[in-house]
Amino acid sequence: MLPELGHFALILALLLAGLQAFFGLAAPALGRDRWLAAVVPATAGQAVMVATAFACLVASFVRFDFSVAYVAQNSNSALPLVYRIAAVWGAHEGSLLLWIVLLACWTVAVAFGVARMPVRFGARVLGVLGLVSFGFLLFTLATSNPFLRLDPAAPDGRDLNPLLQDPGLAMHPPLLYTGYVGFSVAFAFAIAAMLEGRLDQAWARWTRPWTLAAWAFLTLGIALGSWWAYYELGWGGYWFWDPVENASFMPWLVGTALIHSLSVTDKRGLFKSWTLLLAIVAFSLSLLGTFLVRSGVLVSVHSFAADPARGVFILAFLVIMIGGALTLYAWRAPLLKSDAGFEFASRESFLLFNNILLVIAAATVFGGTLAPLISDSLGLGTLSVGPQYFNPTFLLPMLPLIALVAIGVHANWKRGRLQARKRPVVVAGLAGLAVSAALVFGYYAGRPGLALVSFALGAWLVLSSLVDPVDRLRRGLTLPRAIVGMTLAHVALGVFVIAITAVETYTAERDIALARGETAHVGGFDFRFEGIDAIEGPNYDGVHGVVQVLRDGQPVVTLHPEKRRYLVQQSVMTEAAIASQAGRDLFVALGDDLGAGRWSLRIQIRPLVNYVWIAAALMALGGLIAASDRRYRPSRVPAAEPVATGQGSAA
């Protein structure tokens, strides 16, 4: 009965989402204030129904209900409990449901948040979120219902894709989707503001914490996905510029621009229409990502089984949501003029440069990702766009951006009096250059060039970001959380740049065939192959290699790279063995039995690679700390406040 209950709950959720959208949008537009009271109950009901449906699917997995087609395809009687739960979002249908659940979570949080805002505005925000939810629920029920039964039930399941049987990947979709979906809040705030015909600095202040939180989750989600690829895919890469990775990276770049542009709108009431556009685009790119992953229009490692019917549905949804939002934008944005000024070297200028460079970076990734499609639809033939395009073109806007952040954090609002701050900026710059030179010519000893520049930029950013907060602390001032978060994120960005530079420039790598007792010398370490043992897991068997790592003859660590054969799907998986040291990862993956006791091994020494993810996590933490700043908590509006303050409501 559980699957039927879940299915039924989904249908009810669809109806309630429809009511939520209708009341939320129609009540303020038609001036029917009595309808406003229905918005929150519809929202709550929708959330409860969505949670019920999700619980039913989880229960079907936990209880091995192989009469449910989706469970039979993605689980197995030997699958451990934690992966049976993670299997819920292991394929298209369930991950779509997860999307909807997370949207419901955001919606509930927003419902509490907007309780402190003008009631019509809050109703419109919830109405827009209801519309998004309605679209996704309809999509699920029409093309991707996870509750369909098999008759007769399958005797056993076909197992979860072994790639996904990993703690990192179990957590990756929830975090990533929390970020993706979170941008729907900024989107809803933007649409609501346009419908109200009113966008002031208070609006920006309300929107900021939601956007920061969504951005932080997206950052974590992307970082976790990259970390997983590094240790689970087994070939040592952590970012492939694959279309699906790009699909999550584009909203991140635009979202980063948005949180900065919001600060200008908040503090100065400037960049209003631009901020609106970014809010629309960030969420549109999230939707586009969903489309790219699930429609099969691009060739990708991560994509779900392609189904053109799904593609058509999401495309129609995209056209309605984004087309509608941009039409509203074209109509309303021209009204949002501001004639406030700022001087050349003011903080506004630097945030403008930040926004332009981030959008250029996003547009470059966008162009490269969609190039095969664009080329195809213009009749220019098929082509591929890989890392060899993205790496150099992405650096083009990014390197100047890092430099501008290092300077821009010292700029004042309105007035361009950077002269007074020249000393710390220059000192930090020189110190950064010294650090860089020490790393390139001293520690790593070799390959100057781009590494020299980007180490220096990274170190400059770290030091420059710290100058002002340290100065304030010394003077006994307390730091607001917004400043703490910002500083942490900027320092983390600097660390990130340094780590990426180190790992991209100084990774030592060798693919080699070794017989038992033979040694490979890679990057100052000796890797001695000691042979192969058999291993056995709950739903797999296989072998692991024993590799003794030595430095200067002294044993450092023994690594056991595995090769597993998952019994149900008969697929072979490599589990690389990684020893993390403070300054590097020692990475060994086991290849093939070459006969006569020889095995092929991939050995890598990746300097600072862990700091890539640590930095990303710190950036996310910075975002969350900033989001919790007291300034962003709206004081309660008096219940009797007149809502439509004379501005034309969008009737």
Partner: protein, 144 residues
Amino acid sequence: MRRHAVLLALAGMCAGPAFAIDTTQLPNPALQARYEALTHELRCMQCQNQSIADSPVSLAADLRREVAEQLAAGRSDDDVREYMAARYGDFILFRPRMSARTAWLWSLPGLLLIGGAIVAWRIVRQRAALAANDPDFNGDELDR
């Protein structure tokens, strides 16, 4: 339907995260470096998301052997790319070749930067003029 079946079969061959460990050694480090760079920029046509350097399928091994032999025989990187594209189409090249058909893609970042610089310049000039003409500009202070 049948075509779908084929593609699934093709995909099936690459199922699982198998990857190739390529122990090919070319006679000198310079050639080896070129070999590694080249095999990473050729797409495996069977497992379409891997380069032939990483793909475990036999076709990728054949193509790696071809690259190694051609480099050892003194062919240039462009000769190898040309050889591959002539047989498999431009789809096999992860680095799109400069041509009239890809000019838009390769000029995109540059054009965006130029456009962005112009936009930034115009906005800043306009706002600075507003600031200069605003008698109240120095009236209020904003905290940083």
